[in-house]
Amino acid sequence: MHLTQELEVYSDHKVTQLLFKDVKNAAELRQSAVEGKISGALISPTLVLNPFQVLVAANKAVHLQKIGKMKTRSLFSEIIFNLSPTNNISEAFKRFGISDGDSSVLVVLVHNKGNTPPLSDIVSRVNGQQVPVDDLSSLSDTAKIKKFFKITPQEEKIGTLLDAVVCRMAIKDVL
């Protein structure tokens, strides 16, 4: 169900994603993440097109943590911030973090190669149905993504929507 991938640049790190739908306790989950009981990023899947997008954000977060240049306080908040095309931190949390009323959630964990992530703990905390991470596209809203990332029709003709989104995420700090 979950998806674990290696960050090729930081080969000792792995990223695991878990996707849940029909979630009933989003407020509770958010609270436990704030209190640090869940050490992972809780992401609202509406504006997330593909697991690759999360991977790019996680890679950038690990990178910035290593060189000591994170813009937010923790690795997990940095992942959420990196998903956004703007440099506005509170807006990024509002759009990409989970809100109390959300019915689906994407949990992102970052762990060392040797360690196994606390998957069962996460699954037991979420009151919802776990689905394969590849179902992400069915939970995301393409029209909203195009609008929020300001993707022009001309740009869609020359490449994929995913490339357009990832490009903005990667370049945003120098715009």
Partner: protein, 265 residues
């Protein structure tokens, strides 16, 4: 009066010195920022594709996708602070130009990751592609080559017109900086622009004229007997661009005097 003037200049000087000190200190701080060891390690294992005067190109994989990494290395002959600043500036310029192109619908490789500490850009690898330079060289020999190349020249002209209409100057237009991607159906191949390291934003006809002049020089010197072909390219540029008239006029001017503006008078 005189005294106050003296006091003023000395204050000025001390301020100037202080500014210099702080800027130097800042530069030191900047340099002491940790460089990403992991990126360097990755590149050490990657396949080196090309080395230019300013950057090295590597081929590797990034998060499961084939990528090209463009690493701008430091120049030892420059003052470290200046070198850092220039290299950073060029990386940023390149990134902005790529995004501007893509937004306008001009194909350019997507950016996946940027490491500002080692000045590396991770770009989408354009698989199954060749440079326009190689394509022209190989097609020229073929019996039906000229016809095909005429169509290609028209496409290049249209693409450049579109780029200049966005006020983007490429700065290093050559046939090696254009790629042809073979599509699956094999009928129409996609034309892409690469290497935006010297590009900048300008609405001046002068800059656009020089951009075309640079291409003309490169085009005619790498591909012998292609004057007619380049003529075709310019004609399609003129037709496609909304602001082509002053640009072509400038191009004629630049041809007479060369790329650099005369500083006499």
């Amino acid at each position: 009066m005189l005294l106050s003037f003296l006091v003023d200049t000395s204050r000025c000087r001390s301020l100037h010195n202080r500014l210099r000190e702080t800027s130097l200190r800042k530069a030191e701080v900047n340099m002491s920022v940790e460089r990403s060891m992991e990126v360097s390690q990755l590149l050490a294992k990657a396949e080196l594709l090309k080395q230019g005067a300013e950057a090295r190109l590597y081929r590797t994989r990034f998060l499961g996708k084939p990528v090209i990494v463009k690493e701008r290395f430091s120049k030892r002959y420059r003052h470290p602070a200046l070198d850092e600043k220039l290299t950073h500036r060029r990386t940023v310029q390149e990134l902005r130009a790529i995004l501007r192109c893509r937004k306008a619908g001009i194909p350019a490789p997507a950016v996946y990751f940027v490491d500002h500490s080692t000045h590396c850009i991770f770009l989408e690898e354009i698989v199954d592609s060749c440079t326009v330079r190689d394509h022209i060289a190989s097609t020229q020999q073929q019996p039906r080559g000229p016809e095909q190349l005429e169509r290609l020249a028209e496409k290049i002209g249209q693409m450049l017109a579109q780029m200049h209409d966005e006020d983007l100057i490429h700065g290093d237009l050559t046939t090696s900086n254009m790629l042809l991607k073979h599509t699956v159906d094999g009928a129409e191949s996609q034309l892409l622009l690469i290497d935006f390291g010297l590009s900048y934003i300008s609405a001046l006809a002068e800059d656009k004229g020089v951009d075309l002049y640079v291409l003309e020089k490169a085009f005619l010197s790498t591909h012998p007997n292609t004057e007619v072909l380049f003529e075709r390219l310019l004609r399609s540029y003129t037709k496609a661009s909304k602001k082509s008239e002053p640009v072509i006029k400038k191009l004629d001017e630049v041809r007479l005097r060369g790329r650099k503006r005369s500083m006499v008078g």
